[in-house]
Amino acid sequence: MNDGIKINRIDSIFKDYVDNKFDYLKKIMTMSNEEIIKNLTESGLKGRGGAGFPTGSKWKFAAEQSSDEKFVVCNADEGEPGTFKDKEILLKVPHKVLTGMTACSKVTGAKKGYIYLRWEYKFMKNDLQKSVDEFNEELEKMKIDFKIYIVLGAGAYVCGEESALFDSMEGMRGEPRNKPPFPTESGFMGKPTVINNVETFATSTMILSFGGVNYAKLGTDVSHGSKLFSISGDTAIPGIYELELGMTLHDFVEKFGDGDTKAVSVGGVSGALVPRKKFKDTIIGWEGVPTGGAMILFNSTRSIYRILHNYLEFFEEESCGQCTPCRIGCQQLKKGIEAVKKGEEDPSYLDTLASLSKVMNVSAKCGLGQSVMNPVLSAVNNFREELIY
């Protein structure tokens, strides 16, 4: 199981630029495409947005496609409640993201890159545009045929889903597409596209600068490296922390909890709501509870009913409405827990609701509808009495 990894803070993503912000770019551009893929593969890096697809493979698949046009897209539509790390990366070290995108363009042959910035982060658009302009100028000087643009979102959680994001970029409602085909085959404008999260691009830059093998020394056999955690809720020290993967939730709570933690949402509202009794057995990583980094802590003063209700209201509002399991399912789950709480339905109705969430998990079209099950099952199985009384 766990290799005895305790809480280990790492300083890589926000580490200062070595000499100047183009050093990483200059180094990476001297590497061959094979070397870049090799390093990413050896690093074991998986997508840091939460879905966890191996980054090296993704870049390689897109590189193998023959097409007149390819794209690199940076997903900066960080909308998972409890997540705020990408904002900080774009504010503090935007060049690491832009460098990662450029490395990807080198491997895949894409000539255009887009940052899809969520509307909520519009306040930073001008500053980010300045960094992008400066970066594009440098690319031109280095005779690299790649240019980066910013696209502004308009407020929709579901647009963080990659295919919905493409639809949004194409000027449509952000409704997820059927997969396959996957983006590396048919993404933005139906062309091969690599889409990665902000943190994944920044991490790629760091991996390529100090080597994939070195990166893989951190973490466990299954969860390599470190990642950013957005920590909020009942904690005296909320904020963003880069931590080595593979720690137990118990150790995490020892460090970040307020001494009275009863549950933690690992992975935001779409992740599991892990109860205290499972802290010791829960590893934060792909072998345990995977996460995009959102950790919301709850102490014993919090009502799980209120928390779950808040989550379901969120899902109900953010469901794109395209597929029935998610559109109707989210509404019924919310209505259902209200009815049980009011005594209008028998407590056993919670089991019906749990089944409904399982049906959504297998039948909804995208990750939004599929993951509603996670908090619902956690709450029904572990905090049943709080949902009833």
Partner: protein
């Protein structure tokens, strides 16, 4: 609405008359007027060679593209879990009392609209809110009082 027709033509010239320009054009108009009228949507459709349904369907999908009248300053208080836990209700109550409106409403002078929004990425500094695009965090009733007062005091 002759002014918006000119603006829409300019935006269409800038971004190109194609489907991918729809969001930037909608945003361009919304930036200026804070909301899109039916006439705006029809004009945009005409300029980009899209049907009214396509334009309306897209515009109504996104929570930051308003198709109903909004005030000059749109206040959006985050109601998602971390901000909720940090007493966002007290902040909302303070704003409602100051502006004498309920959440979802616009002041009579059309200066403020008060809305809820979902997670805006300031969970470690909740409660938080946006006034148009400006984020404000670590809010308390006192602090929000000061902020709203500043906006109230600025001339139109």
């Amino acid at each position: 609405m002759a002014t918006n027709e000119i603006l829409i033509k300019e935006l269409a010239d800038q971004y190109g008359r194609k489907r991918t320009s729809l969001l930037p054009v909608l945003q361009g108009v919304a930036d200026k007027n804070n909301f899109l009228t039916e006439e705006d949507l029809t004009t945009i459709g005409r300029e980009l060679h899209l049907s009214g349904a396509q334009v309306f369907g897209t515009a109504t999908f996104y929570s930051f593209l308003n198709v109903v009248p909004r005030g000059k300053y749109v206040i959006r208080v985050c109601k998602t879990i971390s901000c909720d836990m940090k007493n966002k209700d007290d902040v909302v109550r303070e704003i409602e009392n100051m502006l004498k409106i309920k959440t979802g409403e616009t002041t009579e002078d059309k200066k403020f609209t008060l809305l809820y929004t979902n997670c805006m990425g300031w969970c470690d500094k909740g409660p938080s809110m946006l006034i148009n695009e400006m984020p404000y965090s670590d809010l308390t009733p006192d602090k929000v009082h000061g902020i709203i007062k500043q906006y109230s005091d600025t001339a139109d």
